[in-house]
Amino acid sequence: MAKQSEQVNSARRAKHGGILTAVFAVLSIAWIAPILIVFLNSFKRKAYIFKYPFSISTKSIFDGFDTWKAGIEKAMCGILNYKNALKKTDFFNCFGVSLFITVGSVLAIIICCSMCAWYITRVHNMLTKGIYVLCLFSMIVPFQMVMFTLSKFANILHLATPWGIIIVYLGFGAGLAVFMFSGFIKSISLEIEEASMIDGCSPLQTFFQVVFPILKPTTVTIAILEAMWVWNDYLLPSLVLNVNKYRTIPIAVQYLKQSHGQLDWGAMMAVLVMAIVPIIIFYMACQKYIIEGVIAGAVKG
């Protein structure tokens, strides 16, 4: 019976598989077309971006090859947009700030929240229970609710720097991380930890040498979710950071529009490409973990 249905299955696959693959191939290209168009337009003179957004030449190829080729030279301007973009946004600096804040925040969240989660799961009293409930509660509070007070307090406490904002991210991101770590720690059997304590490990040694390695799958999930959030976040850093000194990539993109009068779309295209390329490289490198992390995060959240 099983064999028969297998045959039925493979027969169906053979029947529709080829067509479906073709359809999806076309769909996939359409799906990433916006990115390709931005890439193309980043090398185009800004006057022609809106006039000929989808072609590389100002002339049609049916006008004859030489006219077409001359049209390309007219439309394209090489890396001029990139030069302008680097001048206007100080992009590499922004990239550094973004990278620092993301790595710092994710590390802080992973280490502090896993420790906190272990403690409040293992020690039972009113305080630990209260912390857990508060973390749960914080997950449903939208950022707009706290944005004004949070940014003012961060200012008063001198947290308007890349170092300081890590504390803010730790505080605002703690809810999700503590919740997810606690959920996993509850499923670990106590015996392993007890054994290591009896063998003379302090709670700190027990945590870092025994518990933390076991937490690895959850750690990866949380690291990916929080990194995606922090890297792409616009509103929190734009309110908390001193934006005249420190800008993350989303802030740089938004300010390119706000502060130079008429928006230079050539420079904008170049900045967008520079913002997208690192993400795509990172995605290609860690694809497996990212997709697994997203699935695990959705199931638990």
Partner: protein
Amino acid sequence: MEKAIKKYFPIFVLPTLLAFTIGFIVPFVYGIFLSFCKFTTVTDWKWTGIKNYTRIFFVNGKLDTTFIHSLWYTALFTIVSMLVINVISFAIAMLLTKGIRGTNIFRTVFFMPNLIGGIVLSYIWLMIFNSVLADFSKTIISTQWYAFWGLIIVVCWQQIGYMMIIYIAGIQNIPGELIEAAMIDGASAKQRLRYVIIPMLMPTISTCTFLTLTNGFKLFDQNLALTGGNPAKMSQLLALNIYDTMYGTTGWQGVGQAKAVIFFILVAVIALIQNKLTTSKEVQG
């Protein structure tokens, strides 16, 4: 063991608790307090009772519809985006679990836009929308409905891949025997979908519904970058409306904070309803 751990409170909990207090507890409590005050910074406030809340709807005794407009605009946007994203991502997930060639590549491609943040994403589409609409002498902010569908396209592009991944995981978790048994019993493809696959997928469907609902309701970056609330605040979703009230005009910070409290209550209600529905469904299943 509990006793031994207990002493380590300052090392294990205090850093997180301190940051959590600075980053969440104090701003939250103080935010609720300030919604009843007139203020420009956190230190100079004057208690005004519920005046901020009435000023959301009435300005100088006249009805102000900006907030109400953005409320229903947001509700409509949330529902439409939820439906479109879930239907399309479910359909793609169904097709990509048939084992066709290239499945992994397609999955990778569809997910990719999700990693690009809202601001960057919106400027990509702003360029495309405006260059296409330029042929008709229009822009994305010509009317609030251009802005509406523009935003829908942007969030679809961003979230379909994400939801598709979750649906694929859900579909792959359905035991193959169940579908096989239905096939042997003579169920058509339509019947298998209706009576086997969808009921088995209920937890996944409610997860995705909830995610798209809250994402839609809280949308900010895309709204700011794509339309900026134009034309004339007509395409402001709630989050942007609050931001605009708070930072757009001086003297209105209190009203903005009051709107934020209402916004928080709405989000909390959605989350609670969702939670209730999911738990009751799981009991049945």
